[in-house]
């Protein structure tokens, strides 16, 4: 492979040289920005993923230098390799934009409209996709497909109704853990993710299915309903994890001094980022579910959040907890203002002695007694 020269591919009139064997999607991601088609099932860190959701369809209007005929249909860019001299249209093609809209409509056919309840809201790829490519209404006239709620263990919450069948979690379990205990059962419209005999998933790395899930089908039960994603502040932190496969580099989602949730670090494509040791930064379940104290972690600093993301709404500076406001009131009136109301004396929300992050699962009515 190494002797082969790089090949040229043009995507949306931007030419780039890539190694042979690269897919169109990977080439487009090397260009970056809006040229890269959206993906729901493809995950560059998982072998064999992709080719299922059809969101990454692109138009190839010149096959290669040797065979310049255009490809007859739109192709899935995650599964199509580039050829020398290939010309691809992604966001400049009206056919592609239309196809994305259609695919989004298909993905949303059975997706419940429960974003207000869903813990993934704010970092959901389907939300982003439908915001950018979707229609405002549905043409579907039938009842949405529903499943009986199923308990798949103490740490992971499965909402089968929200699943879009991307198979990412199945690949994650296959490739990361020793044994895979869940998979896809049934076929077609009835297909679902399940553990077959409701057997709890207790592998060291199974928590990574939460990060991999593009929708809210698999969410963190220890974070369930505790807070909305955009009210927590992401902080990069690391710890010396005893598990040799775990990189120990994670993202803490904090509120004040409380760690509400621990996830892997994500890159700009929403995938788990490469850790400093050069491997994919999967984190083990111990780091993810059990280390919910600030003292467990060495905090590196706040995560850089894209300013268009809703998560950037709680803008903050410096290391969490270290920023101090300048005291100017002395110069203005020469004395401390008299505090007429301590909010914690009246308010029942955010009580300093109640730590939601330390409750095992979601809070219930008796937790607020």
């Amino acid at each position: 492979m190494s002797e082969q020269p790089n090949i040229k591919v043009t995507i949306d009139n931007i030419t780039i040289e890539v190694a042979p064997g690269t897919t169109i999607l990977e080439a487009a991601r090397q260009i970056g920005g809006e040229v890269a088609p959206p993906t729901m099932c493809y995950y560059s860190k998982l072998k064999g993923s992709g080719g299922k959701c059809r969101t990454c369809l692109v138009e190839v209007n010149k096959g290669s230098e040797k065979d310049p005929r255009p490809m007859p249909k739109l192709v899935a860019s995650c599964r199509t390799g580039v050829m020398d001299g290939m010309e691809v249209k992604s966001m400049t093609s009206e056919k592609v934009i239309d196809a994305r809209k259609g695919v989004t409509e298909f993905l949303l056919l059975n997706h419940p409209l429960d974003c207000p309840v869903c813990d993934q809201a704010g970092e959901c790829h389907l939300q982003d996709l439908s915001y950018e490519n979707g229609a405002a209404t549905t043409r579907y006239e039938y009842d949405r497909r529903t499943f009986e709620p199923e308990d798949i263990g103490p740490h992971i919450q499965l909402h089968m109704n929200r699943c879009i069948m991307c198979f990412r979690c199945v690949f994650t379990a296959d490739q990361l853990t020793e044994t895979r205990e869940h998979g896809i059962l049934d076929r077609g419209d009835h297909a679902k993710i399940s553990t077959c005999i409701s057997k709890a998933l207790d592998n060291d790395f199974i928590g990574n299915v939460i990060d991999v899930c593009p929708v809210g089908a698999l969410t963190d039960k220890t974070f369930r309903f505790k807070n909305r994603v955009w009210f927590t502040k992401p902080v990069d932190a690391h710890r010396n994890c005893s598990n040799p496969k775990c990189c120990g580099e994670a993202r803490l989602w904090m509120r004040g001094e409380e760690v509400y949730r621990v996830t892997a670090r994500k890159d700009e494509w929403g995938e788990v980022a490469t850790a400093s040791n050069g491997q994919t930064g999967w984190i083990c379940d111990e780091c993810r579910f059990e280390k919910k104290q600030t003292s467990d972690w060495t905090i590196e600093g706040p995560t850089k959040v894209n300013r268009h993301s809703v998560i950037a709404q709680g803008h903050y500076q410096g290391k969490v907890g270290t920023a101090t406001q300048p005291i100017l009131i002395d110069e203005v009136i020469g004395k401390r203002p008299k505090l007429t109301l301590d909010i914690h004396k009246v308010s029942e929300v955010n009580k300093p002695e109640i730590h939601l992050s330390e409750i095992e699962g979601p809070a219930h009515s008796d937790d607020f007694k």
């Binding site: 974003c115 505790k226 909305r228 009246v346 308010s347 029942e348 929300v349 939601l356 809070a363 937790d367």
Partner: protein
């Protein structure tokens, strides 16, 4: 320097006899004053008489319940996100078995507070709500001597059973 063409020069010419004898000017002024006695009053005697609210008036918040009396709010946090004054805070909880008659969905606001000292009554919360849960009523914010009165809890804003029964009976309110 002339900035606009509307500027008028001050008339500094000496007063005429009519102006100097003063009486006609007083009579003219009194005529206007007395004329107002017969005109419609611009004020109302407030507590007894109240002006109708504009249809877009934004008053005190109300937390809505559905026909079966279940709370609509799912603590999605969009009102708090939309709030420019950061007056809204909440804590969510999961609905347990046996609480289905209280809350419409599996998640609900266990605590919901609006700090009326911060609220600017802009109505963004009402607009952001995807669940028809928060509305701004036609009630003027009452005044009080202490500040702690203005931290409105969920129970202070939730529509009451009587209001619910009235709405179910009349289709209004």
């Amino acid at each position: 320097m002339q900035l606009t063409k509307r500027a008028a020069a001050v008339d500094r010419s000496p007063m005429t006899l009519g102006e100097r004898i003063y009486i006609p000017a007083i009579a003219k002024g009194l005529k206007i004053t007395l004329g107002h006695i017969f005109k419609k009053k611009a004020t109302v005697s407030y507590p007894e008489e109240k002006r109708p609210f504009s249809p877009v008036f934004r008053g005190l918040h109300v937390l809505n319940r559905d026909e079966q009396g279940r709370e609509n709010c799912t603590a999605c946090g969009l009102c708090a996100l939309a709030c420019p004054a950061e007056a809204i805070t909440m804590e969510a909880a999961e609905r347990k078995k046996g609480e289905e008659h209280l809350y419409r969905e599996e998640k609900y606001a266990a605590k919901y507070e609006i700090n009326m000292l911060r609220c600017i009554f802009c109505g963004n919360c009402e607009e952001a709500c995807p669940k028809d849960a928060i509305y701004m009523s036609e009630t003027v914010m009452p005044s009080n001597y202490t500040r702690d009165y203005f931290i409105y809890k969920k129970q202070d804003m939730l529509i009451t059973d009587e209001q619910l029964a009235k709405r179910n009976a009349t289709g209004k309110g």
